[in-house]
């Protein structure tokens, strides 16, 4: 039982990473019908930005001989890195995707992949092959509740992820920008007739998705501190699968499917040898998608007629 609960916590932690990244895929797809294949590498870049911000803050605190409390360091790192990474998202939209808005979707997808490769090798070119370690930020404390062992970091990771998802939900349902995003997901051609500029809503969506990926990256760095320019590939693709599983363009679906992915992976690993984990986990997901090709909350419908 204790072992089971421990795995639930692990699954929630991995689910948090997947969900935070999957949200970015889903949001962009929902408003532009576009799979942003740069997103995994935006996650990677966001993690490095988080690493840079945290390192700089630690250095700054040391220089001022001030022992900055861990929580403050974490909050500042997340906020600043989210902001900086959102700028990257805006640039990717502006430079990579906007010129291709009327082009076939395949052109946009290929462009996205190429920008991703540029981010990976740009990172390698600038930072070299040396592996960097994410600063520890918060000291690890291990709790033992009735034989279930877990760390404060895991709780923090899941908590911050949930908090961000709630904030996103509020934004989408309570603000006029959120309303415009929802409208765009239904029928983006009519949105300009409401006096809403697509060139405001599209970059904003990229910004939010990228910021969430950066937050995911920092949380990931807290749990798995070794950074790698190619760390965004596998996590990116898996989160993309989560976005599809949730239903193309469904925000709630992406979040839930992210967690489901975490559970499937962890519990497969509980039963099978770890080398079998992804083979079996993704066979299960393929099977689910065979029966629900539009995912959990996806719709075959779309009001995307021509005006």
């Amino acid at each position: 039982m204790a072992f089971f609960l421990q795995n639930v916590i692990n699954a929630l932690q991995w689910g948090s990473f997947y969900a935070l990244i999957a949200l970015g895929y889903s949001m962009v797809y929902s408003i532009l019908m576009l799979f942003n294949f740069t997103h995994g590498d935006i996650f990677m870049t966001g993690t490095y930005i988080g690493f840079g911000v945290a390192t700089a803050l630690v250095a700054l605190a040391t220089a001022l001989s001030w022992s900055m409390p861990g929580w403050l360091l974490l909050v500042l790192t997340i906020i600043i890195a989210m902001f900086l990474t959102s700028i990257l998202g805006v640039v990717v939209e502006r430079v990579g995707y906007r010129p291709l808005r009327e082009a076939p979707r395949a052109s946009a997808a290929i462009t996205g992949l190429m920008i991703g490769i540029m981010l990976e090798y740009g990172n390698l070119a600038i930072l070299g092959t040396q592996r960097y370690n994410f600063p520890s930020i918060i000291e690890t404390v291990t709790y033992d509740v009735g034989g279930v062992f877990f760390t404060n970091k895991k709780i923090l990771i899941v908590g911050v992820a949930l908090l961000l998802m709630i904030a996103l939900h509020q934004f989408i349902h309570k603000t006029r920008w959120g309303m415009a995003m929802r409208a765009m997901s239904y029928d983006f051609q009519v949105v300009p007739l409401m006096g809403v500029s697509l060139n405001v809503i599209a970059p904003m969506t990229f910004a939010i998705g990228s910021a969430l990926a950066a937050a995911g990256g920092i949380l990931y760095g807290m749990a798995y501190p070794v950074l790698d320019p190619f760390m965004g590939i596998l996590l990116g693709w898996k989160s993309f699968v989560a976005a599809i599983l949730g239903g193309r363009g469904s925000i709630l679906g992406a979040a839930l499917a992210g967690f489901l992915l975490g559970f499937i992976e962890i519990f497969t690993a509980m039963v099978f040898p770890s080398t079998f984990r992804d083979l079996i986990a993704y066979s299960i997901i393929l099977l689910i998608l065979t029966f629900r090709p539009y995912g959990f909350f996806g719709q075959a419908h779309s009001a995307q007629l021509r005006l």
């Binding site: 415009a180 029928d187 007739l193 409401m194 006096g195």
Partner: protein, 237 residues
């Protein structure tokens, strides 16, 4: 002239839809454009809203400003031209109220927005009853009310209407046109596009007849209703 369109050319890829079309509207008028399926009525409205590109040499001026210099959202928010598209195109995943609110996205004149909203609910009391209902679940008639109400909320000086009679029962159709008259009396210019020529000509002061992307006839509505060619082609003999 509030709106002048001259030599308007529009193509969809290889297909040429408008061949140098022209017309004009005075502030406060109700003008209709009638024509058969595929004549280019919707394309004309889309060109004014800048949803499709007009070709070189096309000329459109709204209140002295070159309309071709404006992005689609600015045509609405800066020039004040609102467009009720063919088939209504409501945001079915938003409530009635949210559809109306979204139309005020670029507006900052809160007091006036509130007043406009009250006007919409006065003209279409049904919308107030259905305020928090998802617009996808409205009846066809209610959807048309919301489409017009939404266009009203953008703060329009001119309203472009693409076949507002489509799919409405006769009684509903009449009350819809009464509502549009009311909106017009309060100062909104109306450009109406219709296949239902009789209805449109009874409603409008002036009309244009469009065939294959060209204006072939124009005049006072009364004159067009009596015109033998119009009678034969559009009024059933």
């Amino acid at each position: 002239m509030q709106l002048t369109v001259e030599n308007l050319h529009v193509s969809y890829g290889q297909i040429k839809a408008l061949h140098g079309l022209g017309f004009s509207i005075v502030q406060g008028e109700i003008v209709c454009i009638i024509g058969a399926n595929g004549a280019g009525k919707s394309t004309t409205l889309r060109a004014i809203s800048r949803l499709v590109d007009a070709e070189k040499g096309s000329h459109m001026v709204f209140e002295g400003k070159d309309l071709l210099k404006f992005q689609p959202d600015k045509v609405v928010s800066e020039l004040g031209i609102s467009h009720v598209p063919e088939g209504r195109r409501l945001f079915g995943n938003l409530t009635v109220m949210e559809n109306l609110q979204l139309a005020t996205f670029a507006r900052r004149d809160r007091a006036l927005i509130k007043e406009n909203l009250e006007t919409v609910f006065e003209i279409f009391p049904r919308l107030l009853e259905r305020e928090s209902q998802l617009s996808a679940t409205l009846s066809g008639g209610e959807q048309q009310m919301l489409a017009v109400g939404r266009a009203y909320m953008t703060g329009r000086k001119m309203m472009l209407l693409d076949e507002p009679s489509m799919g409405l029962a006769p009684l509903m159709m009449l009350s819809m046109f009464d509502a549009l008259k009311e909106i017009n009396r309060a100062g909104t210019t109306i450009l109406l596009v219709e296949q239902n020529a009789r209805l449109a000509l009874k409603f409008a002061q002036r009309g244009y007849v469009i065939e294959n992307g060209r204006i072939v006839l124009e005049g006072e509505s009364r004159a067009l209703l009596e015109n033998p060619d119009v009678k034969k082609a559009y009024l059933g003999g």
